[in-house]
Amino acid sequence: MREPDFERNLAKVLKKEKPENPTLFEFLLSEKAEEVLSGYRLKSDSEEERIKRRIYACLNAGYDFVPVLPSGLLFEQSSHQSGKETYSLNEGGLITDRESYEKYKWPDMEAVSYRYLEVAKKYLPDGMKVLSYFPNGILENVIGICGYENLCFMLADDRELATEIFRQVGSRLEKYLKNTLDFDCVGMTFCNDDRGFKQSTMISHNDLREFVYPYYRETARATHEKGKYIGMHSCGNFDGIFEELYGVIGFDGKHSYEDVIMPVEEAYEKYKGKIAVLGGIDVDFICRHSEKEIADRCRHMLEISENYGGYALGTGNSVTRYMPLEKYFALLKVVNPDLKIN
């Protein structure tokens, strides 16, 4: 089994250096992937059991870290249509105007517990660290609370209200991630916030700078002050603003790449040495190509990043429920050829 070693592997990647060993990065694994990789049957539906299973899965897969959502901080949003696998970002609309804003119940940060980090610490093997992440990012939560098109109109009609809503969400999420930095088991924080689509970002670059990035910048500053690392996840096209992710905010690594926007090979050539490139093997490519083709592309990616470093292998987005597991395992085996599937 590949031994986890966060400091010698992923931390070096995040420092844009060459890791001691080829390194893997994945943010979210499907339930099925966790189940099969861990070989562990949940004894109950408790979060402790789920964290334990995820740690076993990550250990077996060959990761140097495990993603843990520290607690159940939730912003109230409209429930999505039950029974459907997808949902519209226009669902929501709990805050559409001043009146609904005044009625909205914001979560009490004093009531937030970080007990899941204590749980993770109990089961964490030597060398493995925790990646602490958001229960959805700033823009995702604001869209969830307002509904996307409502938010777009609000940005034009009542920017003061939009500012207030972003502040309520952003300041809480900033505090939430900063609080996780006090836990020794946390090696890196992660701002997972889908802010883009194939052509561009969901709101304008200027609005991202005004409403979202100040909170990320402060989280990055606090993370670095503690000698830890910070990454980000977002789908979408960041052309015209990508440089600010590392140059202004201070993210050490960027996750999520799509072939239709910029294949990871191209992104690596463009940004190596500036920001760590995490994952990137396009999800659709993995789903639609053979195991050999997947392994070939992964090997090529490791080859081109071998001299410069700053790269960890993984999917372009996440191990989705619909991704055939044998194809995901083909990716893992490039780094972890002894991978055992129970």
């Binding site: 249509q81 997808t86 519209s88 226009n90 034009a156 689509f197 194939k198 709101i203 670059h205």
Partner: protein
């Protein structure tokens, strides 16, 4: 600056109230509805589309511009009817079966309407047979299909197959789009058109009606 240019400019800035007032004023000045429509509203929306393609404006600005266009159209519609102005034609638009995403679909719809094409919006999670029925019922010349996921994009192929089974495939142009969709995929499933962005989709749709 002429009043139609002013309408176009206010529309691009998303100023719905100003657009309504200017359309009203233009009508009172005796400017034909066709001129107000083409040189004011459609021209403004075209400019927004061009800026969107160049990433000079973002989705929120497009939505706000489309809201302004609709405000202007609401005032102009009675005059359009009395002048006998008809849309270029009809397009059926929806997100395919199993997929609830609607932002991309709504954006394409707004852009297409901005070209003077009537859109029959069937919504999201739409069964192929419902699309076939809508094409027949409305005598639509274009079908626009959106899908956001690898798992749902094959639904676009299902619609093409359903159109073939109904014997109307050669009567409609099928346009496909969405995050995982590529030109290669569009070719594989036999779609007539794929575009990278909503503004280009609207131009392509217009070309189908005017070619």
């Amino acid at each position: 600056m002429s009043i139609t240019e002013e309408i176009s400019e206010k529309l691009q800035k998303g100023k719905a109230k100003d657009v309504s007032a200017l359309v009203e004023q233009a009508m009172q000045e005796g400017i034909p509805a066709s001129v107000i429509l083409n040189e004011g509203l459609i021209s403004g929306m075209n400019a927004v589309g061009e800026k969107f393609k160049r990433n000079e404006v973002f989705v929120p600005e497009v939505l706000v511009a489309a809201r302004a266009m609709n405000a202007g159209l609401k005032i102009l519609r009675p005059a359009m009817q009395s002048e006998g102005i008809k849309p270029l034609g009809k397009a059926v638009i929806c997100t395919v079966k199993g997929d609830m995403h609607d932002i991309g679909k709504n954006l394409v719809k707004m852009m297409i309407e901005g070209q003077g094409i009537e859109c029959i919006d069937l919504g999201v999670d739409v069964d192929p047979q419902r699309i076939v029925d809508a094409v027949i019922e409305n005598d639509a010349k274009v079908v626009c299909l959106s899908a956001l996921l690898t798992t749902t994009m094959m639904g676009q192929k299902d619609v093409i197959e359903a159109l073939k089974a109904a014997g109307i495939r050669d009567k409609v142009k099928v346009m496909v789009g969405g995050a995982p969709v590529t030109q290669q995929f569009a070719d594989e499933i036999g779609a007539d058109c794929y575009t990278l962005d909503a503004a280009s989709a609207a131009e392509a749709a217009k070309a189908f009606f005017t070619e």
